[in-house]
Symmetry: C2
Subunit: 282 residues, 2 copies
């Protein structure tokens, strides 16, 4: 699989799709990474998007993605987990692959806050959102995997092959029969992540405090400030300037993740404009 693209887009909703199509029209190579499609996929019917009357959100996305495919966009059905600007390129970890690109566009939608007490404080200090990125730091150690979806199973298996002991907590119900034998499936949920001296030490599960060296949280959508360390986020919105640039070099953002109104038309417009700014900017 090709690993360098002119632009990598995180998010396969209306903003990401619109940007992808405009970038292809300008002959740029585009990787569109997506997993959870958020609110749109569950929309029963959308009425006010011009050109697609009375369509379900799911059908809209199917049409969008087919159009992208036909336009030569590379679709990659895995979430972007981490990105890092590196001078002339941006390194992007998506699924279990490392990619690079000239510019990155975040169209990650509104990531619902599903934070566990302690999560925000210790993210990056014993809490990770990316098994591929950080797994090696926990070789031989004891970790808790908090997973909200089926894709977490595969990542937990990868972690289980590295860590000394792996506990698996399902944050939301999902199919987890494919977990490796060396992973312990736990009953109950993690209600808090505990720490001492700035380091994660335990997870709280019911009355029990279980000692761990680290916690991996695997959800379909990673909060953008976890995905891109140092990214400026205010009130849950990625801060962009009039050209859709974030505070990080070569990283742009558009659509719901930069603010309301949460409308398909608005997201489509912003994706288009951000794409054109990227083309102009380089």
């Amino acid at each position: 699989m090709q690993t360098h693209f002119d632009v990598i887009i995180a998010g396969g909703g209306p903003a990401g799709v619109s940007a992808a199509l405009t970038l292809r029209a300008r002959n740029k190579s585009v990787l569109l990474c997506y997993s959870d499609l958020g609110a749109l996929k569950t929309a029963h019917r959308v009425d006010n998007y011009p050109g697609m009357p009375r369509i379900s959100g799911e059908e809209m996305i199917r049409t969008f993605h087919k159009q992208c495919e036909d336009a030569g966009v590379t679709l990659y059905p895995h979430a972007v987990r981490q990105l890092l600007p590196m001078g002339d390129t941006v390194s992007v970890m998506a699924g279990d692959q490392l990619f690079t690109c000239g510019n990155m566009l975040l169209c990650v939608g509104v990531v619902r806050k599903m934070r566990i007490p302690g999560e925000q404080e210790y993210a990056g200090h014993g809490i990770s959102y990316c098994a591929t990125c950080d797994g090696m730091f926990y070789r031989g150690k004891k970790i808790a995997v908090i997973s909200a979806y089926e894709e977490g199973v595969e990542e937990a298996n990868f972690l289980g092959s590295i860590a000394g002991e792996t506990l698996y907590f399902a944050e939301k119900p999902h199919h987890a029969a494919d977990l490796s034998d060396n992973i312990t499936v736990m009953d109950g949920k993690v209600s808090a992540i505990l720490s001492e001296n700035g380091k994660v030490t335990h997870v709280q599960c019911g009355e029990e405090k279980i000692p761990v060296d680290g916690v991996f949280i695997l959800r379909p959508a990673t909060p953008p400030d976890q995905m891109a360390p140092g990214l400026c986020v205010q009130d849950g919105k990625i801060v962009v300037d009039a050209d859709y640039r974030t505070n990080l070099d070569r990283v742009y953002a558009a659509g719901d993740c930069v603010g309301a109104p949460y409308q398909i038309a608005k997201a489509v417009g912003e994706g288009n404009m951000a794409a054109l700014k990227m083309v102009q900017g380089n």
Copy 2:
């Protein structure tokens, strides 16, 4: 025909259609006025608008208007000629009808400058763009009608029934066989509008200077600052704030007419956002 609407939209392209659909979704009554559909109608193929792959501009507009109709938008295939904020409402002259609305949205696209020397200077001082608005001022007088399209014929006939003498100049070729007998069809074009002491006195046609009391210019798209006296326009763009408000009370603008990029997706996004601002604003 209903004459009061919550919102009247000038322009039936992507921005106007998007606004109309969103306003209907918020249960507002909407009149969508349009005549010339500008660049989009002549677009051979549009590739980068999400949801409508490989479509011609004409087919796109047909689909858009059908969707508006189904959503309960009142379509009115005549251009807005003049508008005037009047406190709680805006008065709008479109075709030969007078309407009122709570808010007005201008989505008039990029109006190509087709100005005749003298036109800009004397607009409003002997030059008019609206037969219904200003015809009565020329009762019994001699006027020149400069028309760029077939719809001008009907208006010229109306003027012919009021004025003492009506000369008809075709600015662009069009079907004009239905002109009344009392209207004189002229050969040649008006190359300049001449004046004395700030008042229009003659039109120049070839070598000839023809004395007239007034000039009516009838084109499918009226420059926005002629349509709305006092409207703030800079470098050909209607000036709006972040909420898509113009400097005129209750008058908003969105799409190509507020600036580049001239993209369907951008126009659709702005139409949607302007509509939501209108709903919030009142």
